[in-house]
Symmetry: C2
Subunit: 377 residues, 2 copies
Amino acid sequence: MGPGPSDVHPRVLDALGKGTIGHLDPYYLELMDRMQQMLRDLFQTANRMTIAISATGSAGMEAAVVNLIEPGDSMLVCVNGVFGMRMADVATRAGAAVTQIKRPWGEVFTVDELKQGLAQAKPKVVGIVMAETSTGAWQPIEEISRVVHEAGSLLLVDTVTALGGIPVEVDAWNIDAVYSGTQKCLSCPPGLAPVSFSQRALDVILHRKTKVQSWYLDINLLANYWGTDRVYHHTAPVNMTYALYEALRIIFEEGLDKCFARHMRNHQALRAGLASLGIGYAAQDGHQLPMLNAVRIPDGVDDAATRSALLHRFGIEIGAGLGEFRGKVWRIGLMGYSSRANNVLLFLSVLEQLLAEQGYPFEHGSSIAAANAVYAT
Amino acid sequence: MGPGPSDVHPRVLDALGKGTIGHLDPYYLELMDRMQQMLRDLFQTANRMTIAISATGSAGMEAAVVNLIEPGDSMLVCVNGVFGMRMADVATRAGAAVTQIKRPWGEVFTVDELKQGLAQAKPKVVGIVMAETSTGAWQPIEEISRVVHEAGSLLLVDTVTALGGIPVEVDAWNIDAVYSGTQKCLSCPPGLAPVSFSQRALDVILHRKTKVQSWYLDINLLANYWGTDRVYHHTAPVNMTYALYEALRIIFEEGLDKCFARHMRNHQALRAGLASLGIGYAAQDGHQLPMLNAVRIPDGVDDAATRSALLHRFGIEIGAGLGEFRGKVWRIGLMGYSSRANNVLLFLSVLEQLLAEQGYPFEHGSSIAAANAVYAT
């Protein structure tokens, strides 16, 4: 129940441990094709260039940035947490002239703020994080995409924590480049980074004046392996493909809408339970992610001791605060297979125990009752 | 029996499919420490900065290059196959002024050739491939390292296919940066890239004027996660760590010397069997890799049809020729767990069948007898 890796579905672990075959084996190529189609369905896009990068989600960020950016290009990065900061760093290393616009941690960006940033930076690319894992803030994308495109810029969106937990509508929202990771709401181990590029983005990449600085992440080269030519590039992480394939199958067996509704329901139950204990959220009202519950550690409660007791006495991991939120925030994941009523109820009951031991005042059983009231509706 | 991924040991597959825990879980951190020590033992080095990059072997190449190279640095790359070509491309993308010295495919470089290249390029870094997977050539490193260091350059060595199959003595040979992959002689699925950097290399990296162009591969940042600080960088591919950990345990249970001797013995048996069929090697005499047998396709034998029949009728994969060797060479892997007498004998018996069907003249059973004669000694 941390900020990822989330619990992995047993069927995904089974798939992961199957015998390794060649990365050019006809059966493997068929798996790749089918997985690509499921990734398109998950991103809600028809983008041909929808693949899984052979590394973790942060490499997905780097892939999106280094393919779109050439040295000297202007990039506007929206920073309201760790992952916006990271994107600014990655873009700077790619040679971008980076302009940052900032919001306090836990808050999201408005369309007007974007307009100001666009007018100032005149960026080739705008980067924004849809689900800030460090703050639990849920950034709306659709309206921002409109103003980004009105300004003639490309939109790059981080959906590492979003994908599979809340709707990510790449085509409807007109996103140009998007990346995610396998270890959050896809209930798969870390190791692959799903990405998708719009035709507009591919045209920009095709007409670059310079080579993409990363050979490993160059979409032009990857397209020849994932496309019909099957030109050898690097040796694909075969077993991770098995795992992601199975993870995607599980999501579509449940159905995307039901999957999103389940994430929301368990979040509401947890939130109700925590509220009854006087524990509130770090992200602004109306913009709290269902899968990443960043909550304020109550006064008088020991951060490290509580997390340690959760892990060592009860086998439950939750995340510490990062950066500005260190020591102030816990990050409780309800991602993918981890988003289950029993996890919510178990966590609340254990938390009550640990709060009681530290003399924190609350009404015993109140959190369980509040959560169950949500489940009863 | 292709050029990798090789067959994965069943114990490694079991480990791979174990439950995913957090990348900052104390148990996981302990696994990382132990794995690091085994990687040091495998590379035969005391290098503190010996880790596994969270991506495949080609990302290991990129990590080695982009950490050592700053824009404008001179790099000398030795090219006698696909992977030398790739290294030159990666280095160019990192901003290096690349000088290539070349040998015909299948041949290796002499100390004198290196001396000439060093005098001409005065490189900061020399890159060379120890085991060229495209040609099966085994490049000696020790003497070359001496002249590289006499010239004041750093030595970067590709051991993707070498590591675990032939001795790689990083400290004794004074190698500054080395990388490998998990899917060759380590009998582990693709997905991690073991790397090691000497103190001399780390000093160069520490005193860079520019940031490493890749955030994901920046050794300065990775050192803080793999070191005692455990600063979060990216989410490690937890299950792949389980797999590599188990793969390394298996290698040390057998013992490095025995493991190398097994690779050599199976290679000699295969070579004797193929010789009896009139099939010779693509790499020069005295420099043929035991784990990657690149052999010349006999006249009158259909490359694609034979490989297809091996795969579809017998479930045996071998590699096609790459680049200049396309259609001329087969690449038969005897790597790690795949390096077994039964694989050699099965392959020869099946090959005899397919050659007979194509009217190729040879004495039936001769290859099996020749291989068994090697095993009998």
